[in-house]
C-alpha cells in the first residue's frame, strides 16, 4: 500500500495550519522590510548630518581646495597658532581641524598635514579630504612644471572597455555583477532553505517520538515512507512559505519605498559601489543597455534547470540527515552534538561561494568544492552563471544523486532503529551500529 500521498498531505496541512508557522509567514516579511527601511533611513540620516571642518593652513598651499558642499562647511581660520585653533574648534564643536604646517617646499606638503578631532573621524571624510588635496597638489605641481590648467583638464580621459567574447557575444563589467547576484541568490536561498526546513523536519520527527505515536504509525507504514513523506510534506510547506514571503515582501517593499521615498539604491554595499562606478563611467542609458545584455548573457535555461536539480538534490541530502538526527535523540537539546557536522559543510559552502567563486569562478578551489556533494549544490549554483561546462554539471549532479541515495538509505536505517529507542542519547558509535542492524 502506498501511503506516501496521505502522509505528505498530513505533514503539509499540520505545518501550514500551525499557528507559529502562520505568524512567521506573515510577520517575517514585515520585520525584514521594516529592518531594511530602518537601515536605509538611518544611513540617510547619517549622510544628511551637516558638519563643519575648520582649516588652518600655514603652508599656504591649501588655499582654495575645499568648497562648501551640501552637508560639509569648510571654515578657513586665519592668523592664529595651532593651540588657539584647537581651542576654538573645540568650543564651536566643529567636526575637526585640518592643519597643514609650514613647509619649505611643495614636496613636503603631503607629509605635513594633520587632522585633529574629538572622536576619530570617519573614513569617508578623511579619504574625501585626501583625494581633494592629492588632486590639487598634482595640479599645482604640474603647473609649476609649466603645464596649463586647460591641458590638465584636457588630459583627463575615461576608458570604458567594451567586452566581447570570441563568439561575438557582447558583455560588460556589469555582467559579472549580474552573474554574481544570480548565483549568490540561488546559493544563499538553498542554504537558508536547508537550515530552516531541515530543522522543521527534525522537530517533527522528535515530536512523533515524544508523543509516542510513532509505533502506531509504523505498524501501518514503512519507516522510509514516513521519513520521505515528512521530508516532502515539510518542503512543500516551505515552498509555500517562501512563495508568500517573496510576494508579500515585493508588495511591501514597493509600498514602503513609495511611502517613505527611500531610495533603496542608497544602501551601501560593495556590489552597489561597483554598480555605482559602472553608472558613473557609462551613463544611465549605456547602463540600461548593458543590463539587458548582461541578463540575456546569463545561461538562463541552464540556470533554471540546474537550480531545480541541485536545489532538490542538496535539500534531500541534508534533510535526510536532519530526519536521522531527529530519530536518534529524545529531545531538541540533545541534537546539538549532531548538528555541527551538518552545519559545518553548509557554512563552508557559502563561504567558498562568496569568497572563492567571486575571485575566480573556475579556479581549482571553486571547481573542487563544486564536486564535493555536501558543498556542491551551493557552490555549483554560484558558479553556473559564469558558465560551467555541461559535463562538469552532470558529473557533479551524479555524485550528488549517488550521495543522497546513500544518505537517504543511511538516514532511513538510523531513523528505523532510532524512532523506537528511548531513554539515552546515542553516541556516534551506536549510530554506526544501528546502520548495520
Amino acid at each position: 500500500m502506498n501511503h506516501l500521498p496521505l502522509i505528505i498531505k498530513r505533514e503539509y496541512l499540520t505545518k501550514v495550519r500551525n499557528k507559529s508557522f502562520i505568524i512567521m509567514t506573515f510577520l517575517s516579511p514585515l520585520i525584514m522590510i521594516g529592518l531594511i527601511a530602518l537601515v536605509a533611513y538611518l544611513s540617510q540620516l547619517n549622510k544628511d548630518k551637516e558638519r563643519t571642518i575648520s582649516i588652518l593652513d600655514e603652508s599656504g598651499y591649501l588655499g582654495d581646495v575645499f568648497k562648501n558642499s551640501e552637508n560639509t562647511t569648510y571654515n578657513y581660520l586665519l592668523g592664529m597658532d595651532l593651540e588657539t585653533a584647537i581651542t576654538l574648534v573645540k568650543e564651536k564643536e566643529d567636526y575637526g581641524l585640518l592643519y597643514a604646517s609650514k613647509t619649505l617646499s611643495l614636496d613636503d606638503v603631503s607629509g605635513s598635514i594633520k587632522f585633529y578631532s574629538e572622536d576619530s573621524p570617519s573614513i569617508t571624510v578623511i579619504s574625501g579630504i585626501e583625494s581633494k588635496i592629492e588632486r590639487h597638489l598634482r595640479e599645482v605641481k604640474l603647473q609649476a612644471d609649466g603645464v596649463s590648467l586647460e591641458q590638465i583638464e584636457a588630459s583627463k580621459t575615461q576608458v570604458s572597455i567594451a567586452q566581447e567574447s570570441f563568439e561575438g557575444k557582447k558583455s560588460s563589467k556589469l555582467d559579472n555583477i549580474v552573474k554574481l547576484a544570480f548565483g549568490g541568490l540561488a546559493g544563499y536561498l538553498l542554504f537558508m532553505f536547508i537550515i530552516i526546513y531541515g530543522n522543521m523536519i527534525m522537530r517533527s520527527v522528535i515530536e512523533e517520538k515524544t508523543s509516542r505515536i510513532i509505533e502506531i504509525i509504523i505498524s501501518s507504514v514503512k519507516p522510509i515512507q514516513l521519513m520521505l513523506g515528512k521530508i516532502i510534506g515539510t518542503s512543500l510547506a516551505g515552498v509555500t512559505q517562501f512563495a508568500i514571503w517573496v510576494v508579500l515582501g515585493g508588495v511591501l517593499l514597493t509600498v514602503v519605498t513609495a511611502i517613505f521615498g527611500i531610495d533603496m539604491s542608497q544602501l551601501q554595499s560593495p556590489q552597489q559601489d561597483l554598480v555605482n562606478q559602472a553608472i558613473q563611467n557609462q551613463g544611465a542609458q549605456a547602463m540600461a543597455e548593458n543590463m539587458i545584455i548582461a541578463v540575456s548573457n546569463l545561461p538562463v535555461i541552464n540556470l533554471v534547470i540546474a537550480f531545480l536539480f541541485f536545489f532538490i538534490g542538496g535539500y534531500l541530502l541534508y534533510s535526510s540527515l536532519y530526519a536521522a538526527i531527529g530519530a536518534a535523540v529524545d529531545n531538541e537539546t540533545d541534537t546539538q552534538q549532531f548538528m555541527l557536522p551538518i552545519i559545518m559543510p553548509l557554512v563552508l559552502a557559502v563561504y567558498v561561494g562568496f569568497f572563492t567563486v567571486i575571485e575566480d569562478p573556475h579556479g581549482t578551489v571553486s571547481t573542487v568544492f563544486s564536486f564535493i556533494p555536501f558543498t556542491s549544490p551551493v557552490v555549483m549554483l554560484m558558479r553556473i552563471p559564469f558558465g560551467v561546462p555541461i559535463w562538469q554539471q552532470a558529473l557533479s549532479l551524479i555524485i550528488l544523486v549517488a550521495t543522497f541515495v546513500f544518505t537517504v538509505w543511511m538516514g532511513a536505517k538510523i531513523y528505523r532503529v532510532g524512532i523506537l529507542m528511548y531513554g539515552k542519547k546515542p553516541t556516534y558509535k551506536e549510530l554506526f551500529k544501528w546502520i548495520k542492524y
Partner: protein, 308 residues
C-alpha cells in the same frame, strides 16, 4: 487451518544481544492468547516482528497460512504499550488519518468512527485536540483506532493501563465482543488476574526463550499438585486432625467460611482419586468445603520463571 498466526523458530539479535531465541508460537483462530513474560523478556520484539516493524533474523511468521507480507498490515490491529497521539491534531482528523493508513477509505472510516464514537459516548470529542483530553480519554481513541479496520488479529500490549476500573471493564467487554465476532486476540500484560479472566491460551517468554505454552486449562492441570482445600465440622476436631495427619499430607489453609472447626489443605498422591479422599472424610466428619486447589496464572508465572 486452525491457527491464525504461526511463528516458527523466530530469532532476532540486536548487536550482541539476542532478543529472541528460536521462539515458536501458534495462536488458534478465535482465541485470546496471552503473551506473558517478565520485563525485557522479548515480548515486544516478537510483537514488533508480527507487526512487520522489525524483521526477524531467522524463522518465519505466517498469518492465515501465508508468510507475512505488506498486505497483512490491514489484517492486524496493534495497540502498543508505548502509545500516544499527535497532541495538536484534532481527534476526528487524527482518527481518520490513522484509519486511512490502515487502508480504509475516508467515507468508510468516517462511518465506522461515528459508530464507535457513539458506542463509547465520545462523539462530542471530534473537534477537540488530543492535548485537551485526559490520558484515559486519549486511550479510548487509541482503542477505537486499533479496532476500527476490523482486523483478523488484534494485538493489545497492556491495554488496561491508564484506565479507571469502569473504563477498563468497558474495554474488556469490547475485547470479548470482538473475539465473539470472530477476531483473534494476542494479549500481553503483567496483570495476571486479567490473564485468568480473558485468556484461553498462553505462552511464557523468559530471557528470549519460550519456556511454556498451551491452553491455560491444560497448563493448570499440568501444574496442579492434587491438593484439596477442605472444611470440616466435628465434635472432636483434635482427634480427627491427628487421624487425618496419619493418612495424608496436611498443610494449613486459610479461607473464609461460617463455622468450620477444621480448615486444611490435603495433598494426595496422583494415584488416589478425590473420591477416595471424600469417602474417607465422610466417615469422619461433616464436610462443608471441598475444593481442588488449582494454580493461578500468577503462581504458574512465578514458578516457571524462577525455575528457569
Amino acid at each position: 487451518m486452525n491457527d491464525l498466526l504461526v511463528a516458527d523458530s523466530v530469532s532476532k539479535s540486536y548487536g550482541n544481544f539476542k532478543a529472541l531465541n528460536e521462539v515458536s508460537i501458534a495462536v488458534p483462530k478465535g482465541s485470546i492468547f496471552g503473551l506473558l513474560g517478565p520485563n525485557g523478556a522479548g515480548k515486544t520484539t516478537l510483537i514488533r516482528i508480527i507487526n512487520q516493524i522489525t524483521m526477524p533474523d531467522e524463522g518465519t511468521v505466517a498469518l492465515d497460512g501465508q508468510f507475512l507480507r505488506a498486505e497483512h498490515i490491514k489484517d492486524i490491529g496493534y495497540l502498543p504499550e508505548e502509545r500516544g497521539l499527535y497532541k495538536s491534531m484534532k481527534v476526528g482528523e487524527q482518527a481518520l488519518y490513522l484509519a486511512q493508513l490502515k487502508g480504509l477509505s475516508k467515507v468508510e472510516a468516517k462511518k465506522r468512527l461515528k459508530y464507535w464514537f457513539d458506542k463509547l459516548e465520545i462523539g462530542d470529542w471530534w473537534n477537540k485536540k488530543i492535548q485537551e483530553l485526559s490520558k484515559g480519554q486519549a486511550q479510548k481513541i487509541q482503542f477505537v483506532v486499533t479496532v476500527l479496520h476490523k482486523p483478523k488479529l488484534l494485538i493489545f500490549d497492556e491495554p488496561f493501563s491508564g484506565f479507571d476500573p469502569i473504563n477498563a471493564n468497558l474495554i474488556k467487554d469490547e475485547i470479548l465482543q470482538l473475539r465473539n465476532e470472530g477476531a483473534t486476540v494476542i494479549f500481553s500484560t503483567h496483570r495476571m488476574e486479567s490473564v485468568e479472566e480473558l485468556c484461553d491460551h498462553i505462552a511464557l517468554i523468559h530471557k528470549s526463550n519460550k519456556i511454556l505454552d498451551g491452553r491455560l486449562n491444560d497448563i493448570k492441570r499440568k501444574f496442579k499438585t492434587n491438593t484439596f482445600e477442605i472444611g470440616l465440622q466435628s465434635q472432636d476436631p483434635n482427634k480427627i486432625m491427628s487421624e487425618i495427619k496419619e493418612n495424608f499430607e496436611v498443610l494449613p489453609a486459610t479461607f473464609k467460611n461460617l463455622h468450620d472447626d477444621i480448615k486444611i489443605n490435603i495433598k494426595i498422591d496422583a494415584s488416589t482419586s478425590p473420591n477416595d479422599l471424600l469417602s474417607y472424610l465422610m466417615t469422619k466428619a461433616e464436610i462443608h468445603h471441598f475444593v481442588e486447589v488449582l494454580p493461578s496464572a500468577n503462581d504458574i508465572f512465578i514458578e516457571t520463571v524462577k525455575n528457569n
